[in-house]
């Protein structure tokens, strides 16, 4: 009996080896990696694409940075065809791609996502400015004389008397998240620029090639006012329901889906609504991207058709199925431009990236 077990083990090893060798065949299924923010939209397109007769693409959720790494690994049937990104590709990533032979990248700007600050329904409506958000969450803030000091604010009312008299408590994404990067760029950097002393610091940085200003807006206070609540936005929503005084940071689609539980905070007097974000009035909005390897078109079956499906009116248009999934559509003119360049598979010009 136990001899036969040993024989089994050998047989299994042999089978495994056969499977090893059979793995490198050609591919008819598109592989996409990248941002968890764009994941709900790309999967919706993938499913539609699959229903229309193609093989449903595989979409992995790896985060924007992780996706770029996999995407830039190189060209070939065992490499990813596209990556989702909740921000634009960085110069360093573009160079990494080029180094590994990924030279022709097609950029699809697929829509807009509003980054919202929200609190549980039923509380008093709150209006914030980006400057106040910076004051509430930065590790170092300028004092009256413009000197940087450790953040002294404990309550919202310490920042501005009109704000509620409750402890500052904001739940948000961890540093690995693309949403966190966007939060820093959209809220913290712009908020920091509201101070004259920091503006001067930024100018000095440009002159001396230092990065002191960046350090200020990229650091979040660590004394418990900002709580890293994990990548899962649903968890933040649940925590907000339990804690009426806390605020949460997440994408607009979560605000829209959970409209019965939470409500958005207006930023600079503009409420985070679909119309305001689409029109560009709401300041906390960012563009979402999908990057496609042009070199894979024609090699991987259906990649060009997938791109066409993504930029089609019925997907990313104003009444498209992506808007029902929570995506904010691009303004008409811009959408036309994106569509034209995507259908022509126009590669990205490296000189335009910073």
């Amino acid at each position: 009996m136990f001899i036969s077990k040993q024989v089994n083990a050998v047989a299994i090893a042999a089978v495994t080896l056969v499977a090893f060798s059979g793995a490198a065949a050609a591919r008819d299924q598109i592989r996409i990696v990248g941002s968890s923010t764009v994941y709900p939209f790309t999967t919706a397109v993938a499913e539609q694409f699959g229903k229309a007769g193609g093989k449903t693409p595989i979409v992995e959720s790896t985060g924007t940075g992780g996706g770029m790494k996999i995407f830039c690994e190189g060209v070939g049937v065992d490499k990813a065809d596209a990556t989702n990104a909740s921000r634009r590709i960085k110069k360093s990533e573009f160079e990494l791609c080029a180094k590994n032979g990924v030279t022709d990248i097609v950029e699809l700007k697929v829509g807009i996502d509003g980054l919202t600050i929200a609190h549980a329904k039923g509380g008093k409506p709150v209006a914030l400015t980006r400057k106040q958000v910076f004051q509430a969450l930065a590790e170092q803030v300028p004092d009256k004389d413009g000197k940087l000091v450790a953040n002294p604010y404990q309550k919202w009312s310490d920042i501005d008397a009109s704000l509620p008299d409750v402890k500052i408590e904001v739940l948000g994404p961890p540093p690995t998240s693309g949403t966190r990067d966007s939060f820093h760029e959209l809220f913290m950097e712009k908020g920091a620029e509201g101070f004259d002393s920091l503006k001067a610091l930024k100018k000095a940085d440009e002159a001396n090639k230092t990065k002191d200003f960046e350090k200020v807006w990229k650091s979040v206070r660590k004394d418990g006012a900002y709580v890293e609540a994990g990548e899962n936005d649903n968890v933040i929503v649940q925590k907000l329901e339990g804690n009426k005084n806390a605020f949460g940071i997440f994408g607009f689609s979560f605000l829209e889906e959970n409209a019965s539980k939470i409500e958005g905070v207006s930023i600079e007097g503009v409420e985070p609504t679909y119309e305001n974000i689409s029109a560009g009035k709401y300041k906390g909005a960012r563009d979402l991207f999908v990057y496609v390897k042009k070199q894979h078109v024609g090699v991987v079956t259906g990649l060009d058709k997938f791109v066409a499906e993504y930029v089609s009116e019925k997907a990313m248009g104003e009444d498209g199925y992506l808007t029902t999934k929570g995506l904010v559509a691009l303004p008409k003119e811009e959408a036309e431009k994106v569509r034209a360049s995507a259908l022509a598979l126009q590669p990205l010009d490296g000189a335009l990236i910073n």
Binding site: A9, Y39, D78, K121, E257, S260
Partner: protein, 574 residues
């Protein structure tokens, strides 16, 4: 240290009834009682936590096991699904079955006009509503041209609405006689009674609250920047509301931020936009059959408690669903899709079969590799390996390996299996390989422990009658140790089944619609599926997540039950 003291203890009289002794005994009992009660309390606390978690999951997950359908008579029109009349399966598969469903729905809910309204009406159906009919037609093309009763899958939002998670609906029969002015479009209903007086009072109160709310907002805005555009618009809004509430006799207007008021009359439904004490104006959601007078008790005022802006299901959809439910056309059936389909971005079409099969395939690879290697390694280390520094080092490392965080195995899998051997991403084969590495130490440790538990006399007896060392081990010790090895293996497998972290690195945290057919097909696993669903914004996925957790727990329970059963059936005590 085993020396027995040379000087024997002098016999000393112990008085058990001395006060000191009694106190000491009391103290001992007290300490034991304390320990027992603390242990009991700890157990109770654990039980409370476990029960809370389980109840929460079951409460959230149970709704996902049922799904609402519309059961309608659908004419299977040949001109829509088989215009060429060939009955060719290829053509039949790609035909537009949803169009038939749209028509059937329009027949069941007549009189809805306008492009937007029609779109909203069709929105209550799932995009996969036609799948059931398609399968039936493909199975039996002879039903083309007939009318069949088929269940139409409803969308996730409609399903949640029908499960009663959205708003409370109250219906109050009216006391007066009402006359509607038209059957569709803008309708004014005049009543001989004062049906709407209570609602007007409620609205007035709501307006007062709203003014207070706006004023506090205005203070906030003004302290920051008195010239802000928002401040001006707020001031205008407050002024308008105040002017309005100062005229007590005027009609009140309703908007989407207040509870929805509707009037059910003459077979139709009117959504009110403004009301006064005895008359109301609104638009017809469902058209009325006539403009006849409605007697008291024959018409009613319906309230949807939650304001429309706070719900996913709008008033029109809610009205249609309520009507269909009243007509007996809605059925709540067991959700077979959940167990027979792969992932989908539409919650009502998403199932766990793909991830379940992925998990099973992975476990097959895992057990095929980990069990023989683990048991043979254990046999060698326990019985044949020379005891020296080198084997000691191996032993220590095996024990350490059992405590290595699982994500490390994922990184190893990425570096070795994917990048070096070039195996495909997202394949159950790679997942199984990684998990085999993960459970190998567990199996080795369990196998060694159970072999050590076999009394040495058995091995010695075998050796005594002339068996070789190998024969003694394989014919006698190992069979007796099998139940223990099996238990260890199954618990290791259960551990492997619940792992997500290593799968993340090898691309199994992915959106994969097709159910995997083999070891190299792209697949995901149950815990990965749970993680993916928990991150999606749609509310219906919350229930799906909990339901998938229930399935995972069920499988784990089954595996652990098997381990216990095996142990009790085959275990031998000496």
């Amino acid at each position: 240290m085993t020396d027995i003291t040379a000087t024997p203890m002098l016999p000393k009289r112990v008085r058990f009834d001395s006060e000191e002794m009694v106190a000491r005994v009391k103290r001992r009992y007290r300490s034991e009682r304390l320990f027992k009660s603390l242990g009991g309390a700890a157990l109770l606390l654990t039980a409370v936590f476990v029960v809370t978690v389980l109840l929460d999951i079951i409460y959230k997950g149970l709704p996902a096991f049922t799904q609402h359908h519309l059961v309608l008579d659908v004419p299977v029109r040949a001109d829509v699904i088989d215009p060429k009349g060939t009955k060719n399966p290829e053509d039949l598969r790609s035909a537009d079955y949803f169009a038939l469903m749209r028509d059937a729905l329009a027949t069941a809910v007549p009189g809805i006009e306008g492009r937007v309204e029609k779109k909203r009406l069709n929105g209550i159906l799932s995009s996969g509503a036609g799948n059931e009919l398609r399968d039936r037609v493909l199975a039996d093309p002879s039903i083309i041209g007939t009318t069949v009763k088929v269940p139409l899958l409803l969308s996730d939002d409609s399903d949640i609405y029908l499960k009663g998670k959205q708003t409370r609906v109250t219906e109050i029969p009216a006391r007066g006689t009402a006359v509607p002015s038209a059957t569709k479009g803008e309708i004014t209903i005049t009543s001989s009674g004062t049906e709407f007086a209570d609602d007007v009072a409620v609205l007035k109160k709501a307006i007062v609250n709203r003014i207070a709310e706006l004023k506090s907002r205005l203070t906030i805005v003004e302290t920051r920047d008195p010239q802000a555009a928002e401040a001006t618009s707020l001031k205008d809004e407050i002024a308008a509301l105040e002017a309005h509430s100062s005229q007590p006799a005027s009609a009140e207007t309703l908007d989407s931020k207040m509870p929805s008021l509707l009037v059910a009359i003459n077979g139709g439904l009117v959504k009110l936009s403004s009301i006064s004490d005895s008359s109301a104006t609104g638009t017809a959601l469902l058209p009325l059959q006539s403009t006849n007078e409605a007697a008291p008790g024959k018409w009613s005022v319906v309230t949807y408690d939650k304001p429309e802006s706070n719900r996913k299901t709008g008033d029109l959809e809610a009205a249609v669903l309520e009507k269909l439910r009243a007509d007996g056309k809605v059925e709540n059936k067991f959700n077979t899709i959940f167990f027979t389909h792969g992932d989908s971005r539409d919650a009502e079409l998403a199932g766990i079969l793909g991830s379940l099969v992925g998990s099973v395939l992975m476990l097959i690879v895992t057990i095929a590799l980990a069990l023989p290697f683990g048991v043979l390694a254990a046999v060698y280390l326990e019985e044949f390996a020379p005891k020296n520094k080198f084997t000691n080092l191996i032993e220590i490392n095996i024990n350490n390996l059992a405590a290595v965080p699982s994500i490390v195995f994922g990184l190893l899998g990425l570096a070795v299996f994917l990048n070096f051997f070039g195996l495909p991403r997202s394949a159950p084969l790679v997942g199984g390989l990684v998990l085999a590495l993960l459970v190998l130490p567990t199996i080795i440790i369990a196998a060694r422990a159970s072999m050590r538990a076999v009394p040495p006399s058995i091995k010695e007896a075998a050796l005594g009658v002339g068996a070789s060392h190998q024969q003694a081990i394989f014919h006698h010790v190992l069979p007796l140790a099998t139940p223990g090895i099996m238990t260890g293996t199954i618990i290791g497998m259960a551990h492997a089944l619940g792992e997500t972290a290593p799968l993340l690195m090898i691309g199994m945290l992915a959106f994969i619609v097709d159910v995997p057919q083999g070891f190299t097909d792209p697949a995901t696993a149950l815990p990965a599926q749970i993680y993916i669903w928990s991150d999606l914004p749609e509310q219906a996925f919350e229930a799906k997540t909990a339901a998938a957790i229930m399935v995972l727990l069920g499988v784990l329970l089954l595996m652990n039950g098997l381990a216990i059963w095996l142990r009790s059936k085959f275990e031998r005590r000496w």
